[in-house]
Symmetry: C2
Subunit: 147 residues, 2 copies
Amino acid sequence: MDQIDAKIITLLQQNARISISQIGRLINMTQPAVGERVRKLEDRGIIKGYQVVLDPEKLGKQIMAYILIQTENCGNLVEFCNQSPEVIEAHQLSGQFNFIIKVMTESMQTLNSFLHTCSKYGFTTTMTVLSSPTDTKALPIEITESN
Amino acid sequence: MDQIDAKIITLLQQNARISISQIGRLINMTQPAVGERVRKLEDRGIIKGYQVVLDPEKLGKQIMAYILIQTENCGNLVEFCNQSPEVIEAHQLSGQFNFIIKVMTESMQTLNSFLHTCSKYGFTTTMTVLSSPTDTKALPIEITESN
DNA sequence: CCTGAAAATAGAACCGC
DNA sequence: GCGGTTCTATTTTCAGG
């Protein structure tokens, strides 16, 4: 992981479908050299994959909410989250509420029915999102010799 | 937005760097047809972009945390979030805590100094993430005539 | 939405540092 | 190990139907 890798990742963060040749042009390096660096970043697991960023509202997902859960059975809850398409993220927490999940639903009604099911796993507190000033922002990259 | 668009998006969700020709092969459609569908999805804003998914830990970001904030000046806080590389997401909420932000830092120490700055904008509650059973999961896609 | 040709791109083999 | 050159296969783009 050096400055060149950092530049490559920065360009891929801006547009993950940029061509390898185009990256090469922008950082003054030949296409095969860039290609092999990208392959190595993938092999080392620094690049985990490439995702398309969709507009949730244009796909009918109007409601975003965070649900805090106080559960005693994390395993069951994790399984439930994996099976539920509404769940976009799930994180285990330290503290009184030991779980937070991020959900997206079509309407308040579907959110409500989801919450009903969710409450089987523990006490819940729901916070609905009014607006998202920043979402899916890029990770800052530091250059370290180790990685 | 029809079933074909849904299939294309599903394939792009799995790997946003898949070639257009490969998508065509998988859904039995010629490459130019797929290419134009993708272009239209981009033009309509359904596809907002393509992101590389990085491993935060391998980039030195060991700590993930959610911070709930009770602020009276959303504008300043939003500006602060935009300027802070630690902030990955920021959402305005309904309820007592009117803001939630997701941050990633190198260490507890950097998280702590970030929290110190953050507290200037209002009362905060921090929840550190122990593990993430699911992160950056794909949005489910519904086929509607309108979009 | 398909076909077909030209341009651009990706991947592999090989060379030199 | 790392990058450059060259060659080949694949992909993209753009014409026309």
